[in-house]
Amino acid sequence: AQSVTQLDSHVSVSEGTPVLLRCNYSSSYSPSLFWYVQHPNKGLQLLLKYTSAATLVKGINGFEAEFKKSETSFHLTKPSAHMSDAAEYFCVVSGSYKGLTGGGNKLTFGTGTQLKVEL
């Protein structure tokens, strides 16, 4: 079984200050991990993904995340927040479906972290 825990439901930062959104995961095998962002009434956009290559993953819009196996963490960071970063962020772990030929992957979502950016 796999799961993710997002440690903060709400994070508030000032524009220009660093962003840290925390995520811990649980997986019985080497996982694929993702961060998605969702702006109000929009679909989810993939920010970045970890798939067992480099442990420091760079994504879009200046975000990056570091995979730490010893801490089972995959925290999302950005050096300087922008007003446009205000959104909900989801940490996600991927596993495989069994049963149907051709496979398919199951995403397990965290409960989300609402990021607020203030002037």
Binding site: K42, L44, G112
Partner: protein
């Protein structure tokens, strides 16, 4: 490049009425397709997934059904809507990698 479309964008339906939401993907072949529901304060719930035409797997027993009549078309249906069916419905696709790519969503309100 690949794109995913959903329609309608918003829908208001009375209790007991039927439902049909459509999702189409362009720019890829034989994608895996997924339907999710996002209810307020409850995160994303996987409803159905499909690895090919006519192959549908249901994750959660419910008032909804899904069909895949064509390779890049995924339809979510209901014969009689319930109040609890209200939510934000998201379609997604995946290819060779583990990541999924999401459509813009449909906001369904059942009154």
């Amino acid at each position: 490049s690949q794109t995913i479309h959903q329609w309608p964008a918003t829908l208001v339906q009375p209790v007991g009425s039927p439902l049909s939401l459509e999702c189409t993907v362009e720019g890829t072949s034989n994608p895996n397709l997924y339907w999710y529901r996002q209810a307020a304060g409850r995160g994303l719930q996987l409803l159905f997934y499909s690895v090919g035409i006519g192959q549908i797997s249901s994750e959660v027993p419910q008032n909804l059904s899904a069909s895949r009549p064509q390779d890049r078309q995924f339809i979510l249906s209901s014969k009689k809507l319930l109040l609890s069916d209200s939510g934000f419905y998201l379609c997604a696709w995946s290819g060779g990698g583990n990541e999924q790519f999401f459509g813009p969503g449909t906001r369904l309100t059942v009154l």
